[in-house]
């Protein structure tokens, strides 16, 4: 794993089935809006030894028309939405701040949990990303500092603390300590 600069990481990994699933979905998603992968999959992409049923992704809000186009392309590529079939029914979930889950047809696991970035911290997440280059293409993740801070301060379960520990350890010497402290403080003060 090479930390090329603060916005690019190169990972020459043997891609697993979860990586292939995410790369396939992201290749469609990025044609319609910007995104950032967040939470557990970020740690998994960067080596954490655990699986996951779902992959969280924050996306920039899109118009109803763009959503219909995105959803249609997903259907054409063998995906289904676990929350419903009708785009008129699905779109308001996103604008209400809820998430939609998409999986491959006849499957429920793994799935992509897609959410609009509506809150200030979510918007800041979309503006603070890192590109991870793999042999199967590029994925956009939230910055490691932001991911670690969120897991340590907001989520805090044993699994989240372990994910944060893994990210801190593998990125040792490549993290911006001031940035990490600032984001943690913002989250602790409820400013984010």
């Amino acid at each position: 794993m090479r930390f090329i600069d603060s916005s690019i990481i190169a990972v020459d990994k043997e891609l697993n089935d979860l990586d292939h699933f995410v790369l396939d979905f992201a290749a469609i998603l990025c044609k319609h809006t910007s995104y950032a992968l967040v939470s557990g999959y970020v740690a998994i992409l960067l080596g954490r030894a655990r699986g996951s049923e779902d992959v969280d992704v924050l996306i920039k809000s899109m118009s109803r028309k763009t959503f219909i186009s995105f959803y249609s392309e997903l259907l054409d590529n063998g995906y289904w939405c676990l929350n419903g079939d009708d785009s008129d029914e699905l779109y308001p979930y996103l604008t209400d701040g809820l998430s939609l889950r998409f999986a491959k047809k006849n499957e429920a696991i793994p799935n992509m949990e897609v959410k609009f970035a509506l809150k200030p911290f979510d918007s800041a997440t979309l503006a603070d990303t890192v590109a991870v280059k793999t042999s199967g293409g590029e994925l956009v993740i939230t910055s490691l500092e932001r991911q670690i801070a969120y897991k340590r301060v907001v989520l805090g379960s044993e699994k989240d603390m372990a994910d944060a520990e893994h990210l801190e350890d593998i990125a040792k010497g490549n993290l911006d300590a001031n940035k990490l402290r600032r984001i943690m403080k913002e989250l602790q003060d409820g400013k984010a």
């Binding site: 990972v11 697993n16 030894a49 655990r50 889950r101 429920a108 603390m161 520990e165 350890d169 040792k172």
Partner: protein, 66 residues
């Protein structure tokens, strides 16, 4: 690489293993650790996909239609 230190509790033991694995990832080429990670993740997904009951339980847990 330092040896894996046994934990005094299950939680400490799990966290020690997380740290050990992160050190392993840093110390070895990507292809070496990722091959092991792929075995774990692929087996989990294969098992989940084959198990219709697990899929139904998953959807129920998430409050989604079956």
């Amino acid at each position: 690489m330092e040896k894996l230190k046994p934990g005094k509790t299950n939680a400490e033991d799990r966290m020690n293993m997380v740290r050990y694995w992160a050190a392993y990832v840093r110390a070895h080429p990507d292809k070496v650790w990722s091959r092991q990670q792929a075995m774990l993740i692929n087996a989990q997904l294969k098992s989940a996909r084959k198990d219709a009951q697990a899929a139904k339980a998953y959807l129920k847990r998430k409050g989604l239609a079956i």
